[in-house]
């Protein structure tokens, strides 16, 4: 019944396979850097260290979403539709940082 239905989709690059493996090695390297940095910065408890780890996490997230989840090749509308709502999370983080700083001060 459903034989060869029409599918709407965006183009996938021809060298997808090599892109996948390249992404795999990038993710592996970033994870190794993460673990290495953890031991190098063991005695550092600054906010900058936390920011560095979160930044590395975001870089990894970029590679997973853009290549593995194919988002780099999707229509602009889909990308905006998914990415912009994540600003709510940034807002939540900012609010909760302020709140938790206050809670810490009265604890």
């Amino acid at each position: 019944m459903e034989n060869h239905e029409h599918l709407e989709h965006t183009e996938t690059p021809k060298d997808m396979k090599s892109k996948i493996w390249k992404t795999f090695w990038i993710l592996t390297a970033l994870t190794i850097i993460d673990i290495g940095l953890y031991f190098v910065l063991l005695e550092n408890h600054s906010l900058a260290k936390n920011a560095l780890f979160i930044l590395l996490g975001i870089v990894k997230a970029y590679y997973i979403v853009s290549i593995f989840m194919h988002m780099k090749f999707e229509a602009k509308w889909l990308v905006n539709f998914i990415i912009y709502p994540m600003l709510f999370v940034v807002f939540l983080i900012a609010l909760m940082l302020i709140e938790s700083t206050f809670t810490a001060s009265i604890r």
């Binding site: 994870t31 593995f68 229509a75 999370v89 939540l92 709140e99």
Partner: protein
Amino acid sequence: MSNTTALTTEKKSIWGGGKSPFSVSYGKLMMWIFLLSDAFTFSSLLVAYGFVRHTYPSPVKNELIKPMQHLEEGFVEQMQHVGYFTDDKWPLPELVFNHFPFIHGMHLPLFFVSLMTFILIFSSVTMVLAVEAGHRMAKKEVATYMIWTILGGLAFLGCQAWEWTTFITEGARLDSNPFGPMAFAALFFIVTGFHGFHVFSGVVLNVIIYLNVLKGTYEKRGHYEMVEKVGLYWHFVDLVWVFVFTFFYLI
């Protein structure tokens, strides 16, 4: 003038009907919307963790034990005694998650969780390779890569079961925690449990897809888009793990 007309006609052609402005099928768009809502759920959980973590002072510097050193019997009690594990201080993750299966009595911080991370990254790669094979309608290749993805998922779940067992054996509960504040164990169980349940659901979906591939359902349908949809979910689980790993073990 001609510029504006070009712009309006282009806008009309995107939202004018007849085709999806997102140029994806209905099912894929719905999967993206589900993943967005799931991202909000996980964000809330991780922000809750960050909140609680930030209200406690930073862990004390570890000067007692180095990686690969011998772990003594009653390590947790010893750490409590020297004041590393107390109710008013967040524990150093390095001192809590330092076991490895089959290697007893050695301080191996972060080794096991790194292994889990690599397992999940690798199963993500085999999943995307299955999607790529699906584009070429290569049924056999899709099946092979799906099997590897399922095995990776099961391996990850096994690792997590072992991690939980070790943590519980050492006395961690939802309402008590020998390593420090109660919230530390509670949040660990809730967040990794919620993520683990996602992995479990992903494995179940992958098995269903695998059986359908073998049956030739997608061959008959003319496309392997179902593999892509479940693939999106599977990569999302990997994506969440990146942040769980960062927050629970690195920070």
